[in-house]
């Protein structure tokens, strides 16, 4: 979306005649190339993320958990608790904005961590408000085999039109 701020400024200035005048002329334009600085910084951030991932979560031990939500009319998400092999690895509380981003099709990278190779069990507990504004807590479990390749797991919350209830899934990405 276009930055509302930029637009607002454009609009406000267009109507300067109705507003009280400013105290003076605006500043001259800065002579440097801000975009070039931003590009360098973004590239630096990218390389840092890659280095971080390679260093802290190498493929041979990496497990990443993603959360997606489709529609969400029967469930208002408040929090997710994640356990791997019965050990809590993260607990996440959601803001309205984050829930909105999920409902619009975004996927949250909920957790990235390390596990040993072999079989594991992941359980996600979803807390929120279910149908009729009632407190709702459900869990979804998936077992996965960690190999030399990274393990990606998707948790999904969906509405079931059939029984007017939310449904929770956990599956390993191939």
């Amino acid at each position: 979306m276009i930055g509302l701020r930029t637009l607002q400024i454009g609009v406000l200035v267009a109507f300067a005649g109705f507003a009280a005048g400013a105290i003076g002329d605006g500043p001259e334009a800065p002579a440097d190339d801000l975009e070039a600085v931003k590009r360098e910084l973004i590239a630096l951030k990218r390389d840092l993320v890659i280095l971080e991932e390679d260093l802290l979560f190498p493929a041979s031990s990496q497990v990443a958990v993603f959360l997606s939500m489709d529609v969400g009319e029967f469930f208002q998400l408040d929090a997710v608790t994640l356990k791997i092999d019965d050990r809590e690895v993260t607990h996440y509380l959601y803001t309205e904005r984050q829930v909105d981003a999920l409902m619009r099709g975004g996927v949250q990278r909920l957790y990235v961590g390390d596990v040993q190779q072999g079989k594991h069990r992941l359980t996600a507990f979803f807390t929120g408000r279910g149908p009729n504004e009632r407190d709702y807590r459900r869990a979804a479990t998936v077992e996965f085999e960690k190999t030399f390749e990274p393990a990606y797991i998707e948790l999904a919350i969906r509405d079931s039109e059939g029984n007017y209830q939310p449904e929770f899934f956990a599956a390993v990405s191939e």
Partner: protein, 627 residues
């Protein structure tokens, strides 16, 4: 609804029963950041996916996303470069529409209205199940703006008609349309547009601000048209505080003066004077109040007020000159910019008010919200954020270096264990077994079967081997038997050996196949162990060669970026300081005019009092007596 939202701006795939592939998840993770207006995070997400080779599934949508995120981040050249990489032939109809939407935004930014229209022509979202055209608010807004830019007010109005009443884009669109209509001398339509804007039920602060401006515009227009009552009602309807209060009160005071309602005017000027700090309204009230008093024939009080005003203007002049001198002080300018960079809360407002006290808080805020100043201040804020991030980088890199050192230490330990421990021994044992098996198989395949222990033992089972050993021992003992018995016993032993031999020879092919399988398994085990050893050995080398070099490169790059950020901050500090100086000089000139006006009025009022022109006060002005 979700798919509709996704359609025009970017593509997004709804959750499916099975887990999606990582390419898909990465793309949706970028959208997650973008939907929260974390544009730089979204962009980094795309660039990381690109580096990881996760964008091959649908390169077009990734390029569109990259361009869009870069655009939102104010990186317009980068955005255009991304869009330019898209080959027309590779685009689906929907992709073409998306690209057109993004390009329209770019043309909009540049004010190239014809190009905006041309791109938006390609955007057609079709109709819903009821046959109604599907509209995207931002598209309709851009259509309206493009029409406005080309002077076609009717078409702009038509485009805005597609927006719902609670859409924030409508507030912007109506405001701009009203301004254009007024500028074109179309008072009636302009009034209707502003009235529609004033009636909007908006929820965002920005839109509410526009609604207030719309109301103020209506008041000004009503005043211009001589409809004083309307103007009064509209002005009275403005919020009791905020940036428009001062403007509204000033306009309200002037209106009362114009209508000869000097009592009312005096009350308004007094209200304005009661507020803290300086503003344009406050300055005007300093002169407006005694003018009202003069009209109310309260000459003595008017003279006293003029004298107070002159004193106040002299004080303000001194304060302004002092403030202007401080713009040369980078510490003071930094204090101002730091205050601006803080979150928009009460503490920030108080700090800004304190710094801007000599200038007057209201005027100060107006200046800060002016387009160019706002842009530079936004850049300052953005750069400050970058500088903060960069400042935190060296300790972060140091921490990673420690992690690397620790990992290397552990790898070295593992290597020692590898050299001395079980894994190496197992590897040697396996290699020995493989060697023996290979040799045995080679010989078995080369030699013809013969009933001799040497050959038979290679393929015999453990039981058969024991039997062969026993029969061989018996054959050795048979030579000691009496000559009469020996042939019979030896013949029996040979028969028994023959039985074992024929059993082995009969199963020779199957037994060799089993041995080959055993050899293959041993070879696989050996390869696995070798690979593990190689990984462990290679890990150390990779740490040393790759990561350390990465750390060094990152440190150097971050230092270079930090230098550029610091230079950019300096540039904005200089620009803001220069603009401040100009602004303060203007305010000094204005205050001098006020002072001159006050002094002339003092002279006039003094003369009138001295000449006895002034009539006795007919009645006390409300709230003025004794103040």
């Amino acid at each position: 609804m979700k798919s509709f939202l996704c359609d025009i701006v970017l593509s997004c795939v709804l959750a499916l029963p099975g887990a999606r592939p990582i390419d898909e998840l990465s793309y949706a993770a970028a959208l997650y950041a973008w939907y929260q207006e974390q544009n730089d995070e979204a962009l980094v997400e795309v660039l990381v996916a690109e580096s990881r080779g996760r964008t091959d599934d649908d390169p077009v949508r990734w390029q569109l996303a990259k361009g869009s995120f870069a655009f939102a981040q104010g990186m317009y050249r980068f955005a255009n470069e991304s869009f330019e990489t898209l080959a027309e032939g590779e685009l689906s109809e929907l992709d073409r529409m998306r690209l057109a939407f993004h390009l329209a935004r770019e043309h909009y930014r540049r004010g190239d209205w014809r190009a905006v229209e041309a791109e938006l022509e390609r955007v057609d979202l079709g109709a819903n199940w009821r046959g109604r055209r599907r509209r995207h608010p931002e598209v309709e807004f851009m259509r309206a703006e493009a029409a406005l830019g080309q002077g076609d007010l009717a078409r702009a109005e038509q485009a805005l008609g597609a927006l719902s009443e609670d859409d924030v884009w409508l507030a912007y669109g109506l405001f701009n349309l009203g301004v254009a209509q007024r500028a074109a001398g179309q008072s009636g339509p302009a009034r209707a547009t502003f009235e529609r804007l004033a009636r909007l039920r908006v929820e965002t602060e920005e839109a509410w601000d526009l609604v207030q401006r719309g109301r103020l515009a209506l008041a000004v227009m009503a005043r211009e048209a001589g409809a004083a009552v309307d103007a009064q009602e509209l002005l009275a309807g403005l919020p009791g505080d905020g940036r428009y209060r001062d403007v509204a009160m000033l306009s309200y005071g002037k209106l009362a003066m114009a209508r000869g309602e000097y009592d009312l005017a005096a009350r308004i000027w007094l209200t304005l004077l009661e507020q803290d700090g300086w503003s344009r309204g406050h300055a005007a009230a300093r002169l407006g109040l005694p003018m009202s008093l003069e009209k109310l024939d309260r000459e003595a009080q008017a003279l006293e007020r003029y004298r107070h005003a002159a004193l106040a203007f002299e004080g303000r002049l001194a304060a302004l000159e002092q403030a202007a001198a401080r713009t040369d002080d980078p510490v003071w300018v930094d204090g101002l910019l730091d205050a601006v960079s803080r979150p928009d809360d009460t503490a920030r407002a108080q700090e800004l008010a304190r710094l801007g006290a000599p200038l007057g808080a209201a005027t100060w805020f107006e200046w800060l919200s002016g387009e160019d100043v706002h842009r530079v201040l936004s850049e300052w804020r953005e750069l400050t954020g970058m500088a903060g991030w960069l400042a935190e980088l060296p300790p972060r890199i140091a921490a990673y270096q420690e992690v690397t050192a620790e990992r290397r230490r552990r790898t070295a330990e593992a290597r020692v264990l590898l050299d001395d421990g079980e894994l190496t021994a197992r590897r040697d044992e396996l290699a020995g077994r493989v060697g023996v098996l290979e040799r045995a198989l080679a010989e078995l395949e080369r030699e013809t079967p013969r009933p001799e222990p040497d050959w038979m033992n290679r393929l015999a089972t453990a039981e058969e081997r024991a039997l062969i050993d026993e029969l061989t021992a018996m054959a050795a003992l048979a030579v000691r038997l009496p000559a009469a018995e020996r042939p019979r016993v030896e013949a029996r032993i040979r028969r028994l050996i023959g039985l074992v031999f024929w059993q082995i020879a009969d199963e020779r092919a199957a037994r060799i196949r089993a041995l080959v399988r055993q050899l293959d398994e041993s070879r696989a085990l050996l390869a696995g162990v070798d690979a593990r050893i190689e990984r462990l050995e290679g890990a150390e080398a990779r740490f040393a060669a790759g990561v350390e070099a990465d750390f060094l490169a990152l440190t150097e790059r971050s230092s270079a970026v930090a230098e550029r950020v610091a230079a950019a901050l300096d540039e904005r500090r200089r620009v803001i300081a220069a603009a401040l100086r100009r602004g303060l000089d203007d305010e000094v000139a204005r205050t001098r005019d006020y002072l001159l006006t006050a002094r002339i009025a003092i002279a006039r009022a003094t003369d009138r009092l001295a000449n006895g022109d002034a009539a006795p006060a007919a009645r006390p002005a409300p709230g003025v007596a004794g103040s």
